[in-house]
């Protein structure tokens, strides 16, 4: 599934970056605990989180995660956008809960990591 389809399914807004619209994601993982994200060894993973800070971006960078959905109306800061641009990570704001965003994406074909 392309990032632009993810945005559409969860009625989200792509904050960073336009160039990421065509990137493919296949699996999803939902967590506010970055320690858990760092244990994943899957590829093409999309992260759904309510943790809106620089560590979420850094964790995605180290874990080769190319798309993060910030649920629960969390706002993405300028610093987060700057860091995400350096590593080509798509950042999506979404007003749904983590549970709803995950449910919608699962129903649309995004597979769980485990």
């Amino acid at each position: 599934m392309k990032v632009k389809e993810v945005v559409e399914i969860i009625s989200g807004e792509l904050i960073c970056c336009e160039s990421m619209n065509e990137v493919e994601v296949q699996m999803g993982f939902a967590s506010d605990l970055m320690s858990d994200v760092l244990t994943l060894d899957s590829e093409n993973v999309l992260l759904i989180t309510g943790l809106a800070n620089l560590q979420a971006i850094r964790t995605a960078e180290m874990s080769d995660i190319s798309c993060i959905v910030f649920a629960r109306k969390k706002k993405i800061s300028k610093e987060m956008i700057e860091l995400a641009k350096e590593s080509n990570i798509a950042l999506i704001e979404c007003s749904s809960s983590v549970f709803k965003a995950a449910g919608l994406l699962y129903a649309a074909g995004i597979n769980p990591v485990y």
Binding site: L33, S35, L38, L54, A56, E61, M62
Partner: protein, 139 residues
């Protein structure tokens, strides 16, 4: 190739800088992106540990053709019981660290899982030295 980075303890805005720089360097040198990911995740976890627990730290990286060796030395309170600290789920992290998305007591174990060799020594009241080695050539 030899690189060194200082880690400022307590400053979560900069945590991951050394790992990020290493990732850029390794992407140029190592073809297998899974190896790159394992090494940078291990270093990132180590950086988080220094920022969360120590007073200051230094990362020393040596990259050869067949392996990478990373030393992370910190000045800090040290670890009284390393065996206990290695157990998944054991954590002495502060509330602030947990709010950052860490402090679940999985860092050291995850560093070990992502490297081929793992050595740690610590002296209470002095600091902790971590050495990790990863093979860069898959057999």
């Amino acid at each position: 190739m030899h690189f060194e980075f200082d880690i400022e303890a307590g400053d979560f805005s900069k945590v991951g800088y050394a790992s990020s720089q290493l990732k850029k360097i390794m992407k140029q040198l190592v073809g297998d992106h899974k190896i790159v990911k394992r090494v940078v995740v291990a270093l990132y976890e180590a950086e988080v540990n220094v920022v969360a627990h120590a007073y200051s730290g230094k990362v020393i990286i040596d990259i050869n053709t067949d392996k990478i060796e990373i030393k992370v030395n910190d000045k800090g309170p040290g670890i009284p019981d390393i065996q206990l600290a290695m157990q998944e789920g054991y954590s002495t992290a502060s509330e602030q660290v947990r709010e950052m998305g860490f402090g679940a007591g999985m860092g050291l174990a995850n560093i070990k899982n992502n490297t081929d060799e793992f050595y740690i020594k610590s002296e209470v009241g002095v600091g902790t030295s971590l050495t990790i080695i990863a093979n860069l050539i898959t057999e």
